[in-house]
Each structure stands twice: as C-alpha cells, then as structure tokens.
Symmetry: C2
Amino acid sequence: MGKLERHATIADVAALAGVSVGTASKALNGRGSLREETRMRVREAARQLSFEANAGARSLHSGRTYTVGMITTDTIGRFSIPVLMGAEDALGAGEMSVFLCDGRDDPIREQYYVKTLLSRRVDGMIVTGRRTEARAPIGANLPVPVVYAFISSADPGDCSVVPDEAGGARKAVEHLLAVGRTRIAHITGPEHHNSARVRAAAATERLAEDGLSLVAPPLFGGWSEVWGRQAVGILLAGRTEFDAVFCGSDQIARGVCDALRAAGRRVPQDVALIGFDNWDVMTEACQPPLTSIDLDLEGLGRSAAQMLLAAINGSPSPGRHAHPCRLVVRESTVRESTTVPLP
Amino acid sequence: MGKLERHATIADVAALAGVSVGTASKALNGRGSLREETRMRVREAARQLSFEANAGARSLHSGRTYTVGMITTDTIGRFSIPVLMGAEDALGAGEMSVFLCDGRDDPIREQYYVKTLLSRRVDGMIVTGRRTEARAPIGANLPVPVVYAFISSADPGDCSVVPDEAGGARKAVEHLLAVGRTRIAHITGPEHHNSARVRAAAATERLAEDGLSLVAPPLFGGWSEVWGRQAVGILLAGRTEFDAVFCGSDQIARGVCDALRAAGRRVPQDVALIGFDNWDVMTEACQPPLTSIDLDLEGLGRSAAQMLLAAINGSPSPGRHAHPCRLVVRESTVRESTTVPLP
DNA sequence: GTGAAAGCGCTAACAA
DNA sequence: TTGTTAGCGCTTTCAC
C-alpha cells in the first residue's frame, strides 16, 4: 500500500465508484434518494480510498466548524486539568473538537489566541484559569459565545461556572459540628487569594449561625505543607484549646496533620481534621487519610461545556453559576471510615 | 456596536474599501504590487470590520491547515501535562493550533479521534501517554507524520521521543557515589511497570561498573508514600546496613524519608536520599527538601513538537530519541544546599 | 496597479 | 434515481 501521498477527495471516490460528485456526496451523507446498490458502491469506494471528508471545506457551507477553543488564562495546572478534561469530554460527546491554548499569564499571548481561534471560526470558547477570581472579559462583542469555567468574568452578564467555595466551606463546618466538634480553628492560604478569603468568611458565617465562632482568627499563610506545620506551632503556642482544624487546602491539612502527630495530638481523637480540594495525592498519603471537600472540577468543566453547547445552539445561560462541592469523609474526622470496602 | 451577527468576509472588506476581492486579498497578504494608498485603505476596512480571514477556506488552497492533533492514549495526568505544554509551546511558536484529544485508555475512542483529526486535515499528530512503555502504532500508512512523546511506538521506524530513564538512574547513583555513599538500597514501583524495571536495572549496572552492588535486591512495590514507609520497615527488619536510598519516585522517597525520621535515622547524615521525577509538591514538602532526577518533560514535549514540525516540512526523524534527564541537588543528599539563594 | 475568473473540496438546489 | 450547476471564502493566475 505504501504511505498515502495525499488525502482522497470526494471526486476520487466518485470517479472510482463511477458516479458524479453530487451523487457521491448524497451517498455518503445519506441525503436524497439513491439506489441502495449505488450507495453501497460509493461507500465501498470511500472505504478503499480511506476517504474522510474535508471538514474545512464542509464548514464553508454549514457555517459551523464543530470546534471550540479552550483558553487557559494562566499556566495549565492541577486545577485547570480536570476542568479541561470535563469540558473535552462533554464536547467530544457533542462531536466537537477542542483547540487547546495555554495563555501563560500573558495577555498578549491570550489576545493572539483569541484572534487565531476566531480565524479558525470556532463555534465557541471556554476560558479557564488557576484561580477563582473574576477576570476581565476576554473580548467585547465577540461573534461567538464564551463560557468562563472555574475562573469567572468580571462582566456579570457573561456566563461563568464557578465552584461554590462558600458552600463547600459551610459543608466542612457542618461536618465538624456533626461529629461533635465546636472548638474549631481555621488555617488557610494567603489572604490576598480570593479562595482563602471566601472560604474563611463562609466558615465564620456558618459557625455564627450556631452561635459559635472560630477559636482564633483565621491563620492566613501559604498553600503549602510547610505553612501547615508552622501554623500548628503558632496555634499550640497560643493558649486556645481546639478540637478541630478546618484547612483551606489538603496540602495545608497534611502539614497540620504531621505537626499535630509530632506534638502528640491524635487525629481524629483529639483533633478532627478536614482539608479542601480532595486531592488524592494528599488525602491518601495523610496519616490518617484525610476528610476533604471536593470541588468536582470535572463536573464543573462538563457543565460549562454543556452551557457552551446550549449557547451555540441559541440558548445562552448568562450570569454566574455556582457548581456545588461535595464532602468526602475519611478517617481524619471519624474513627472508622464510613466507606465500606468492597468484598 | 452590539454583538456581531456573523464574521466579515473578504468581500465585505473589498466592498467597504471600494476594490475587488482579488485586490483586497493581495493587500492583506502583502502579495502583488499595489499602491500604498490602496493597501492602507483595505487594511483600514479590515480593521473596521474586525476581519479575520477564514482559515478553513484558506487551507483549501494551501493544502495545509496549520493545526496538529495531540492524542493522549490514557487519561491526561501529571506526566502528560508538561509534555502537552511543551509541545503546545513549540507548536504555537510555529503558528500551529493544537487539537486536544483525551483517549481515556479506550482504543475505540482513540481511533475515533484519529479519524476526526484526519478529517480536519491536521498537518501532523503527537501521541503521548502516562507510561514510558512502547505501544502499538496509532495507525498504519497515515497520510500525515506522527511523533510519539514520552510513550514510544512499538514500530522502531516511528519517531518516538522518550525520557532517558536509564541515564537518569545512572546519574542518581553517580551522585550518591560522589557524596561518598556506597551502601545503596533501591525502593521503587511495581515490577510490572516498565519505568521501575528500567531504573532498577540501570542503577544496578552503574554500581557494577564500580565493582559495587545494591545492598539488597530492589524492593518493588507501589508508587506511593505508603509503600515508601512500608519498605523502610522491611529494610530495617533485615540486617543489611545502608547509607543511601535511591527511590523510583519522589512519592516513595517522601514516604521513606518520613519513616527513616520516625526510626531515628537522620537524612542526609545517616542516610542520603534521592527521588525521581522532581515533582515540586514532594521535593519541597519533604523534610529535608529532596534531591531528585528531573525528566524535563516540558523540554521533551518541545523537542517532540520540533521533530513533528520538521517532519511536516519534509525532514522526518525516524527512530527512538532519548531525552536526557537532569540531576537536581537538594538537602536530602548534601548537608547544605548547593543552590545559592538570590540576594 | 487593478479587476475578472478559475478553482480548492464540498453541499444543495435544480434539471434531467 | 442521477447529473449538472452554483456557491461557501479565499488565493492566484492572467488580462486589462
């Protein structure tokens, strides 16, 4: 057979089948009315030539390309991936192909990508990023719909799908209350980070609804294990007693866990511990395994993609949509894991 | 202005500028010889209409789409990402757009993507995956060049760019020897995993070159921290003395580190410790920070993309290409970090 | 220096 | 049932 030199065209197929291109087109797309024998003959010719219709030429008529662009505003990372995957999954099911564009925190590069995507006549775009903060819209009066996923647009009229971080923080607190803890500390990331502020505020608020408050003001620091360990030092140096720690991330929680153990406090007997993000690497390696809040990023991405598909089909969903978080219980908050191992 | 209803065509631009479409085309692409005034007038009209030439229509002539497909054979994960990013980076610089296709370990899905990409007339494809093992070629006699990155093709004639894991393992051993250790243990992932076997064999071989051997047969297990901790238990239960541990991954090394500390052995004074992958999450959280081997996946992806670009331009690089690994020294092998902090 | 016309690969009217 | 034709948006001869 040898390596094919060029793609077969529908003219090649028509010639081989001994019909006109119009007939070949109908046969391959199931349009018009043709003799079954003719249809088969054309199909067979197409198969023989490994014919795949040129999508570009095709979209010249339909006006649609069945492609979408995904732009990450900052470098692709641990949070963008599941979002991208969820979106890719939902779009693939919708027969859409996805252009991946890594913005790398560079607005110039980002605008370049927007132009490129428009020249490729994508049917829509998804914009995502590493942080949940609002960002400037990627463009004004774009000729195609845009959905922001994880990150949100500063324009409230734009469609944004964001994790319900406040709801997640409330679930964390409610879980700690449900297992009988009332003296709760909160250790989290840097105060300038939107997620840290939102989660801390929501936790405080939820406690207030039960007439409680954090045993100490939230400890803002970094998102790292190192900070988790340091923060425990600070907490223990103070006189405040605590029977639970709600952490702004799993990495922090892991650091907290290690430091508590080193200080002779047992988890969960003396201190119940809950993280945020439900990152398997951390929740599994933690001793004991870590209870956490799952952002369901893949579901979020899928949901964003579905909204984009709807918008492309003329039914936009303007505004900010909060995607719910899930509580995942493990042994850092309850003695025995509630999950029953499979037999 | 209001939301644009449709994309402007070159006919719109020509009409607004009061010239023919042919002239407009020349003006916008810098072809032919036109009066400077005309050129400017057309450019201005294009700007006013936010005109972006339809790439699909354009490629109808050029025969090239300036797009490539990236297919991950299995789910996109920690190893595929940097490869994808490096490739996207190199391709973007080459004015190429990238179609992202997540194979999800499903051969059916994978073949579906290959067909889709061919119908979109991509100029080439990059195939990647989570493991370094060889895999069946993605297709035979494809009309466009294919480069395998990280993963490799079972067909030795295909172009594959893979990390030089054996070289990395040798560098790890050489570093341990250089810091004066000779009684080296090796703890790594499952024996059925290609990377585990290759790294263990290379380490053994390198030691043999100096008339040495591992203090015990390689301990194969899982890639997790949990296994690292368990393995230390096994090692200590045996009578064999050791002054260094070479681990098959950073997660294992981290587990080893924690367990050694718990057992009263100091790192690096009593035991020097080196990991593999140079995963920042682990190397930084480890106490002390972990020396490791970096696969330079982003560089590998970039290199693969460049080979693809070359192949598209008629200069293929058939065969298997080993991409070198880098040693990154931190405090788990030397008392004071050799990296000088910036002032 | 500019316009008219053909053609890239395909689909969809309309004829035959 | 099938073939012919026009046209999607663009580039590129070739006349003028």
